[in-house]
Symmetry: C2
Subunit: 540 residues, 2 copies
């Protein structure tokens, strides 16, 4: 690629060094093969070179994308006045107990090695509530970007992992009804759009309306949670299957199930569903449902102020599994969220269920809701004075969003894993040619000290082509070249890299000015604006 540039630069350097160099240039081997061929496995394996089931390594370019997602979301959370905290990866086991309903079986425990019994955190919400209760926090807007752990069936390519990141923003404190809730919904919309996801909708429901409906339809209080979890399956299963679960497995009458069906099939804009429910005498006369409906009316005003109402679908089938929700609940879905049409067929065909990627969808890409009792549950259980600190939050599923962003990549997307801007090289030859390694180090160190990303080849003597290849591999913009004679004269050659500069010999400058000159050149280059990662993340 750069051969023309190399030849031209070489020819502009003092002749004494050239003769030996051009022969050294001839082989033109790549600096180092990126991957060696896989050796065939021997019979006596001792260690499996793999990560545990449901976990994965993140390689360099994937990390660039992941960090760009994190930085987009943390800027968003900061924009809304969020502060960030961090909690340990594991909690005392008793802290997590009884918070996750049926899913508690998915919690990872640490081995009892003496001392306290601990478990890996299952989400960031329970540790946050523990933190708030422990520190007597009255109000906070906090965000937390960290890994959580669930012994679930993994679907790796769909972003369903056993170790995965959550990016949470929560508002705790006694505030005007539905104000923080609306802000969380706005954060959700702003977050997804800033990540280039625009074809999403927010399914939204209210636990109090749902509970009211169950009462109206004749579900006993003790059955509410299990009927709720049946309803929650409506995004994956047809009504008939859910009805069957309610009547045959969960002991409800045909009449109750049909009544529930009449409600939970409803979905539409906030206004549409609010109008329907407001005209329903049963709803209006049920205290819980009425409270929920009033909240929705308030929310409508604020959603309009934030201009997010068009994203919201009021969907009475949304129930969400977690025990701790008490009010508004919501989740964002895209077309990739649903499982493939022939999912059950694929599932039957699948020989192993080690990875469910083939027959599941990406699922919701962000979700949250209101949980008003979690903090004071901790305060009470620890013997502190109980003060209710209501909370509402939103959690972004980064792994799932990551898998959507990766799908945007095509053969022309080039993500540069390093930040290197400048490559420091030496050209010379002859019997007395040392390769200028300490000299290259000295020049590179000057650039580092000025905050400039710079590399050089870790070799005493390297031929020009290998140095240019290494520079190209690192995606450098500028070469600083120590010519054998030129360097002795106190001069360095500065050359732009890249195909379009193939004919450019660069310029010879005073070694004393190198930092200033490189800084100027780099600031010109960076005026180009958006880089490839930003474009990818924003879906441009």
């Amino acid at each position: 690629m750069l051969s023309r540039a190399i030849n031209r630069v070489i020819s502009s350097i003092k002749p004494s060094s050239i003769t030996r160099m051009s022969s050294a240039t001839a082989p033109a081997a790549p600096v180092a093969a990126a991957k060696a061929p896989k050796a065939s496995k021997k019979s006596k394996l001792q260690v499996s070179l793999k990560t545990p089931k449901g976990t994965k390594d993140w390689a360099d370019t994937d990390m660039i994308i992941r960090e760009a997602i994190f930085s987009t979301l943390s800027s968003l959370f900061k924009k809304h006045g969020g502060v960030t905290i961090d909690t340990p990866v594991f909690e005392l086991r008793e802290i997590l107990a009884g918070k996750y309903g049926e899913d508690s079986k998915l919690i990872y425990n640490l081995e009892d090695q003496g001392g306290e019994l601990c478990s890996l955190r299952y989400d960031l919400t329970v540790p946050f509530a523990r933190y708030a209760a422990m520190n007597n926090i009255q109000n906070i807007k906090r965000y937390h970007i960290a890994k959580v752990y669930r012994r679930d069936q993994p679907a790796m390519t769909k972003g369903r992992m056993r170790e995965f990141y959550q990016c949470d923003f929560d508002v705790a404190g006694n505030f005007e009804s539905m104000v923080p809730d609306s802000e969380c919904l706005s954060v959700l919309v702003e977050g997804l759009t800033s990540l280039g996801i625009r074809d999403f909708k927010i399914k939204l429901n209210h636990r109090k309306i749902l509970d009211g409906i169950f009462q109206i339809c004749g579900v006993k209080d003790e059955d509410v949670r299990k009927i709720s979890s049946a309803v929650d399956k409506l995004d994956k299963s047809p009504w008939e299957a859910v009805k069957k679960e309610m009547t045959e497995e969960k002991g409800q009458s045909e009449e109750t199930a049909d009544k529930i069906g009449g409600y939970v099939k409803l979905n539409g804009s906030l206004k549409e569903i609010h109008t329907i429910l407001s005209q329903d005498a049963n709803i209006i006369s049920n205290e819980k449902a009425k409270q929920g409906l009033d909240d929705i009316a308030t929310l409508m005003k604020y959603a309009e102020a934030f201009n997010i109402d068009s994203f919201i679908s009021f969907d009475l089938s949304l129930a969400r599994g977690l025990d701790y929700y008490t009010g508004l609940i919501y989740e964002a879905v895209t077309s990739a969220s649903a499982p493939p049409k022939n999912a059950s067929e694929l599932k039957k065909k699948a020989k192993s269920v080690e990875d469910a990627s083939e027959f599941v969808g990406v699922g919701s890409i962000a979700a949250g809701g209101r949980y008003d009792n979690l903090i004071n549950m901790f305060s009470e259980a620890s013997g502190k004075k109980s003060i209710q600190i209501p909370c509402v939050g939103i959690s972004f599923g980064v792994e799932r969003i990551f898998s959507l962003i990766k799908q945007r990549m095509n053969s022309s997307t080039v993500i540069k894993p390093t930040a290197t801007q400048v490559f420091v090289m030496a050209f010379g030859g002859g019997k007395d040619w040392t390769g200028y390694l300490p000299e290259r180090m000295k020049v590179t160190k000057q650039l580092w000290d000025a905050g400039i990303e710079a590399e050089y080849v870790y070799k005493a003597k390297a031929n020009p082509r290998k140095q240019f290849d290494a520079a190209e591999k690192a995606g450098c913009h500028i070469a600083v070249i120590l010519g054998k004679e030129e360097y002795l004269d106190g001069k360095l050659r500065v050359k732009r890299l890249g195909q379009e500069f193939a004919d450019d010999d660069g310029e010879l400058v005073s070694a004393a000015d190198i930092v200033t000159i490189v800084q100027e050149k780099l600031s010109d280059i960076h005026e180009d604006g958006l880089n490839e990662v930003t474009r990818l993340i924003r879906g441009l």
Copy 2:
């Protein structure tokens, strides 16, 4: 604080709204008490509100400092051409087995809940080697900032935790001798100085020299590791105690111990110690020691090129515990690294040893070395073709560095936990006064959409003082004020906040221009330059 400003702003707003407001302003209560008084503990505790032993939560301002440290170090690693990777928090147990010598007992295991046996990672080096072997990586400069886990005796205020961050930079690949090693040492110096730590020295030694010395002094090969671990205690114990351990516990003769003593007491500049050892016939004729000494001679050239030689103390007592080191080893220490003078007395007095903070020092704040066989150990054990991929690295102990940086803080250090720049307020009054909540939301949303950090009070009607208090608490620079009448005229008031602007009424601007005007004002403010966190981190 801001009362003059409030009164002046109020008096500049249309009179109709004033009468009711000033009485509402009177109580001047703070927005919300930050902490409620602790309730006395009841007898029937059910849950302990605490983090597991040796772990801690990170609160908002501590997180600001921690993130500034991370960002300083990751910029540094990027400057040196590093790419970043991430690995799971737990690994298959067999991956960690046999890598940490005596310290293997400190590994946290996950409970056997069916499936694979896993353990939490003990460092980032072994997972890195597993990653490199698994992916047949021939060369890489990688950095990794992540949590590691050790069931050690904690010393919380000294930054010795059971869960703590490591910031690692490692160079893998077959390169010119001592070149990546010197670069790691330069990274160490650049890293600590950029974090405002200048009074450190790098203790440096070479495993081959140490092994050669043990051979020369008559230590049997099978005893080398345990004698090495005795020598490593010389930074905490006097020679007499170490000698006693060698002779009485570890079966060495008096003569052997004395010979060892003659060597390991040596320390000085690279040049001094290199000169002494080069004149020692026993050293020169020992193959291993000679190899190590040649490495040191090479290192001297490069350390001079990087201008880091003055930081290095060649110290033959440095041994370092980990099994996998094969060449150069080093650690950075400051005056805070050593335990207090009366440590053993304090230790005796201590009633509980739950926390060893009182009688330990901060220890080394960064450490590393060369480990040439770890990657191919994994390749071989997994049955792959074995190719030696030599490695060298440096690991920064962020928690310890954090504790040093915290000591710089004094009563005048104010770290702002939020990024909020603008507070959107509404002033009005009268029977028909709504409080302009949806209107405030609309204006705030405009600012968010332009990337500006903005907040408003989550209350339908809030009096001016409470809004100013909240703005002050969030450390905002600018208030955008919706006056009852002014807003109806399409106008907003923009006012600088802070004591020095107490007399400034701000200016009335067209609501349509609000984003541009706020952006201009903010860019003026930000020309101030360095913020408080940057000053703290750099020790300015």
